[in-house]
């Protein structure tokens, strides 16, 4: 269901916001400069109090794509189940977006996973470390230019031998 009232009010507050709909899903694209403000407004004013997921898409080989990374924030209302998808795009060699851990504590691990897998830095995150891969890992494997079979990191992981222990 397209929540036109929410979209209208949101677009009045943030003029450069684009909205679309597909299969009943409402999606807005916000510029990265105002993404934190948009999410905060959605949480405080429009009662999207549940952060369902934060994920990222690398559009490197996507047909007709202009931007490299697309951050996806899936929000919902815990009572009614209303949903909204907020996206923003980043392009730099060192992509950075503001962290939303201050709004939702649940964002902590989700942002760490995006950093781990895509190398998107979250500005203001209290503890931005790798979460699934070991600290020694240098690449961000869900980027499209990373090969499926890896670059041989597995064979160079440090191994604890009995003699050392």
């Amino acid at each position: 269901m397209m929540d036109s009232r929410v979209i209208q009010q949101l677009q009045t507050a943030f003029p450069n916001l684009t909205a679309s709909e597909f299969r009943g899903q409402t999606r807005v694209v916000a510029p990265v400069e105002s993404i934190h403000e948009v999410l905060e407004t959605l949480k405080e004013k429009f009662a999207f109090d549940l952060l369902v997921d934060i994920t990222c898409v690398d559009y490197l080989y996507y047909p007709d794509a202009e931007d490299r990374f697309g951050l996806v924030y899936l929000l919902a209302n815990a009572e009614t189940g209303r949903r909204i998808t907020v996206r923003c795009f980043v392009n730099d060699t060192d992509p950075t977006v503001p962290s939303v851990v201050g709004l939702w504590k649940g964002a902590n691990w989700l942002e760490r996973e995006v950093w781990d897998m895509f190398g998107v830095r979250f500005d203001g995150h209290p503890d931005l470390r790798r979460i699934l891969l070991p600290e020694e890992f240098t690449a961000h494997p869900l980027r499209k230019d990373y090969p499926l079979q890896g670059r041989g990191e597995r064979h160079n992981f440090p191994v604890i031998t009995r003699a050392e222990g």
Binding site: Q25, D53, T55, A78, E79, W104, K105, G106, L110
Partner: protein, 428 residues
Amino acid sequence: MSHPGGLAHDEPWPYLWTMNFGPQHPATHTTLRLVLKLDGERVVDAMPDIGFLHSGFEKLGEHLDYNQYVTVTDRMNYVSPMANNVAWHLAVEKLLGIETPPRCQSIRVIVAELARISDHLLCLGAMGLDTGAFTHFIYAFNPREQISDIFEALCGARFTNSYTRVGGLMYDASPNAIEMIRDFLKQLPKTLSDMERLMNRNRIFVDRMKGVGVLSKAEAINRGCSGPIARASGVTRDLRKNEPYLNYRDFDFNVCCAEGGDCYARYLVRLAEIRESLKIIHQAVENLPAGPVNVVGTGPFFGEKTFFANQSRSENTDLSPSASRVILPDKKAVFSTIEGLISHFELVMANRGFRTPCEEIYCATEAPNGELGFYIVGDGGPRAYRARCRPPSFVHFALFPHLIRGHTIGDVVAVLGSLNIIAAELDR
């Protein structure tokens, strides 16, 4: 090993112990590691260290086609693989705009609810085992064996089922399998009352569970909880009611909630949900619609607004796939007719397969552990451009330090058991 921001209490209390818990410890259930900071027996802080079972499932999803990837979803939450199968193919069908026939939807509801029972039984059994009640564990595991038998009768596999297909199912449910489900429905309530009588007022169990790992409603929402863990804290959100998918709208069942937010509340919510699942399965089995399990027909699936890569809109209307271009043909037709063989190979060969819209969708289901969703990006080709899984365990395990602070070391297993962390889903 340095952990910036991890254990902040090093300086003021130099007498704190650091204890390593896992990754290979029976009470962690699977492979996960906790670094605990202890003041005597009291846990001052905990730092989860995960990723031991990371196997790049999301990367694999970009290299396997929409039907092949279902085998990978089996291995995410391997306690209830059927629920993952259903979740994945619902998301794919939402991307393609396919509506499955009523019989398929009912069978999917049945298997998803059986998977929920199976998952909850394991969780309840293990909660008992972790707090010292071995009998309870055996009580819970017997019906799980029966569920495995039912799944074997449905699709030939007990554990890694891969039962669903795009627009349908691998096989229709046989009358034999339906009979087995009916038997199961008759027998499980007795086992459940046995389990209830054994544990619900058991003083040792209740003492270990009550007031341990308390999660308030506000915290549950703020930390993104879903499923039984959120409902044990008073959040009424259940995707089967809030945004009904499949044909859940047709069934009469209750959403089970509690207000305690502690381990005991999570135990009770899971136990109550099993009974509600039984109600749903009973209604679905007795009212199972007749008809095909796979989508039939030749109409185009996509709406007008979708478009494909490297194609103009006028071409698009001619090339929209019809049902026969998306659904794997019946095996009998594949082996005995040339048309069947051709359409089979048109779908499974590496450079063939069906087209998908250049769009992005998120589709969530109420999996046993909480909201299991897939965020799929289609790029026109037969493989997902991005197949993100929103795993409930990952979100719930992030809670752990918050829940355990201030409790004793014995409570670590109780809290861990009540969260029902499945590490394969946690790490993917």
